[in-house]
Every structure is written in C-alpha cells, then in structure tokens.
C-alpha cells in the first residue's frame, strides 16, 4: 500500500516537473513587417496560409504595414514566407507558327510594385526557418514602385557629343554614332536605345542636353509628342514608352 502511494506521488511529481519545464505546447506567431507599401494587392504565403497586406493611409504614400499570419506554428515546424506565386498557362507562338503552352509565374505583389526581402541591417533576416530557432519569428519585406524604360530610335547621328537628359534626376545619357570598319560614322539608325528608367506615376521629359558636333538633333515621341509624358497605366501596360525618335541633321555650312 505504502509502496503504491510512493509510486503515485512520484508519477505526479514527474508530470508537474515536466509541465514546468516546457512540456506545455509552445506556438510561434509569424510576424510580418512590410516597408514601402504604396498600393493594395500584396499576398504573402507560408505553410498553406495566405496573408493579405494592404495599403493604409491616403493616396499612394508609402507606409510600413505590420501583420501576423492567422495560424501559429508549432515548435520545429519549418516556414518560408514568400509573395504568393500565381502560375498562368500561356500560349506562345514560335517563329515558325507552332504554338505551345508554357507556365508563366507571376507574384501577388502590390499593384505597380515589387517586393523583396530586406537587404539592409538590421532587418536583413532570412524569410525562412524553423519555429523555435529564434525566440520569435519576424519576417521583413521591402516594396518599391516599379519603373519602366524610355526607349528611343536615333536617326542620322554622325557627330559625337550627343547627350540626353531627363530633368535633373538621373545622369545624362551619352549617345555615340554607329561606326563602320574604318571607324567613320555611318549615320545608321540606332534602335532600341534604352534611355532612362521612369517610376510609375511620375513624369518624364527628355531633352537634348548637348548637341553632337556639326549636327542638330530634335526629339519627338513620349505621350505628348515632344518628349514628355507621365508613366501612367497605359505606359505601364506597354512595358514603358518606346516611341521616342531623336532625329539628327547636319548643320548648314
């Protein structure tokens, strides 16, 4: 009788001591901080859960959004928090006319934005890991507004020294004439010349900063036909503005 009592007490003690040293179930919330959110639409995903991160505040002012995934993780569960991929089967037509279907993967970023893992200290922590590795799970992402190129065709350029500016922001772009085998300028068209990268919903105005020697160039294109415009929805959909023409003619002698 006495012996069994002792056994019971021992079992009770063991249970109590186990509970006190963490035998109870610990869970880990997945905390998320996203910097630079200017628009709605970001969805982060991990462990079969989705978390929508939307813009708060007025206009498109960039804000920092904090959120927590709905379900917590158990100790030892792995996680990998990524922008939710969307796979779209797309039909592509090859040069010979045959069609095939390829899967195109896009991500649920905010509208007009792209988000990446934070790259700067102290928030440049991995977005994957195992629950319990660190005392808490903290995920950081940084979103930036997309930028699209201004693409030009340069005609008749023979002189050197042509530079183009887009206001005061980016460095001016220098354009050199095409040369033949003897290093003489041919005046041949320069096509698909990427000039500047312009952020969505900002304006651009391309001007000629310096004229090439012995020539005068004029610029046309852009949304207003004279080199200026806004990187709006239509321009974004087209992947940039590519109707710039810089036409150069020799100065009268």
């Amino acid at each position: 009788m006495k012996f069994s009592f002792a056994r019971g007490a021992l079992a009770l003690m063991a249970t109590l001591s186990l509970a006190s040293c963490g035998g109870g179930k610990a869970t880990f919330p997945i905390n998320v901080t996203v910097y630079g959110v200017s628009y709605d639409g970001l969805v982060l995903t991990t462990n079969g859960q989705d978390l929508a991160v939307n813009h708060t505040g007025t206009g498109a002012d960039p804000v920092t959004v904090t959120a927590v995934f709905p379900k917590q993780l158990d100790y030892g569960e792995t996680y990998d928090v990524v922008p939710k991929p969307v796979v779209t089967p797309t039909t592509v037509t090859a040069a010979d006319g045959t069609t095939s279907t390829v899967n195109v993967t896009t991500y649920k970023y905010p509208l007009h934005q792209t988000c990446q893992q934070s790259g700067s200290y102290p928030t440049n922590l991995p977005t994957y890991g195992t629950a319990g590795q660190l005392s808490s799970i903290q995920i950081y992402y940084v979103c930036s507004i997309n930028a699209y190129p201004l693409v030009a065709k340069v005609t008749g350029l023979r002189g050197t020294g042509l530079t183009l500016a887009n206001g005061s922001g980016p460095a001016p772009v220098a354009v050199s004439p095409t040369l033949d085998a003897n290093s003489a300028p041919t005046g041949a068209d320069i096509t698909n010349l990427s000039l500047f990268s312009v952020t969505y919903n900002t304006t651009y105005g391309v001007t000629i900063l310096t004229q090439p020697t012995g020539q005068t160039c004029t610029i046309s294109g852009g949304a207003n036909g004279t080199g200026a415009g806004t990187m709006d929805d239509a321009a974004e959909k087209a992947g940039g503005v590519s109707n710039f023409v810089i036409a150069c003619v020799n100065n009268p002698t």
């Binding site: 530079t163 206001g167 005061s168 922001g169 312009v198 952020t199 105005g205 200026a228």
Partner: protein
C-alpha cells in the same frame, strides 16, 4: 666605463621599444569606402592632421599611403572639399588602429544644390504643366517666376512642356543645361506663351 655601456644599452632598448610600439610606421593600411558625392577633384583627407591624401573624382574608396601600427590613434578629417561639395560625413573616422577598425571607415559627401527658377511670360490661361523630369508643376496664369525643385551643382536640367495651356501655345528657351555654381546665374530658362 661600465656605466656608459649600460647607458648605451638602455638607450638602444628604449629606441627599439619605441619603434615597436608605434613610434614609426606600422603595417596597417588605413582605408575607407566612399558611398557618394565625389564627382570632382579637390577632396583632400588628412589623418591626425597630416599625411594628405587627394581623392580623385569618382573614387569609391581611399587608402592612406602611410601605414599605421596597432593601437595608434587615427583621426580622418577633410582638409579641403571639391568646389561642388557642401559637406562630407565621415563615419568611424576616429579610433585606435587594429585590423577591424582600419576597414570600417565610410564617407559620403553632399553635393551643393541651387534654386531653380523659370521665368514665365505671357501666360493668361489655365492648364500649363511644366516638367523637369519627374518634377512636375502646374502653372497658374500670370505667374512671373516658377520655382522648381533645387538642382545639384554641375547636374543637368531639362525643362519641357508636358501640357499646353488652354488656347495658348508655350515654348521653352534655354530649357536644357547644366546647373552652375551660384544661386542666380542659372535662372535663364524662359517659357514664353502666346
């Protein structure tokens, strides 16, 4: 006789000892990273007020020619600025030298900016929008001077008309150029409307 040998010995020991603990050149090359703002020649750095080091335009790093010894104190300061620089900020520029501290120096320079004003002539209607790249301004009728965002010294500007005003046509004279070194000699961009 014996004491003079001893004295010479002590002097020698002292000399060696001094040399060993930083009296002379060491083996640590003091260096740094330049993040931004050095677009012209003219920047000169000093260490402890000497060892002048001229930094060429566009440099992204620097290294003093004279090596320092472990535990030597170094103090990097700017002796002279390029003409277009307002100020330079040096981080971790003052410390005692060791393998870690000699490679932790960073510097960024801030380039001067100047006000950028455009003269507007003859504008009597609404709707004129003027841009300098991403700097977009709606211009009201009868505005004599339009103040744009400041422009960096030696930096480009390119003013164009994004939208013409109702019933008028405006043109830009001297719209593109490079910002000079004073606050006033660049205000020659004129938008004339008729």
């Amino acid at each position: 006789m014996k004491s003079s040998i001893l004295r010479a010995g002590v002097a020698l020991a002292c000399a060696l000892g001094l040399a060993a603990c930083g009296g002379g050149d060491g083996d640590l090359l003091l260096q740094g990273t330049i993040y931004s703002g050095v677009t012209k020649t003219g920047l000169v750095l000093t260490n402890n007020g000497g060892d002048d080091l001229a930094i060429p335009a566009g440099a992204t790093s620097f290294q003093f020619s004279r090596a320092v010894s472990t535990d030597d104190e170094f103090n990097i300061e700017v002796k002279s600025y390029p003409s277009n620089v307002k100020t330079c900020t040096i981080n971790n520029g003052k410390a005692r030298a060791n393998y870690y501290t000699i490679a932790q120096v960073t510097m960024s320079c801030e380039i001067k900016t100047h006000p950028f004003k455009i003269q507007i002539q003859g504008l009597t209607t609404n709707g004129l929008v003027v841009v300098n790249g991403t700097d977009r301004r709606d211009v009201l009728p009868n505005t004599p001077v339009l103040e744009m965002s400041p422009v960096y010294e030696d930096g480009p500007y390119g003013v164009t008309i994004l939208t013409q005003p109702t019933g008028q046509t405006c043109s830009v004279a001297n719209g593109t150029g490079t910002m000079g070194s004073t606050d006033t000699d660049n205000n020659k961009v004129v938008v004339t409307c008729a």
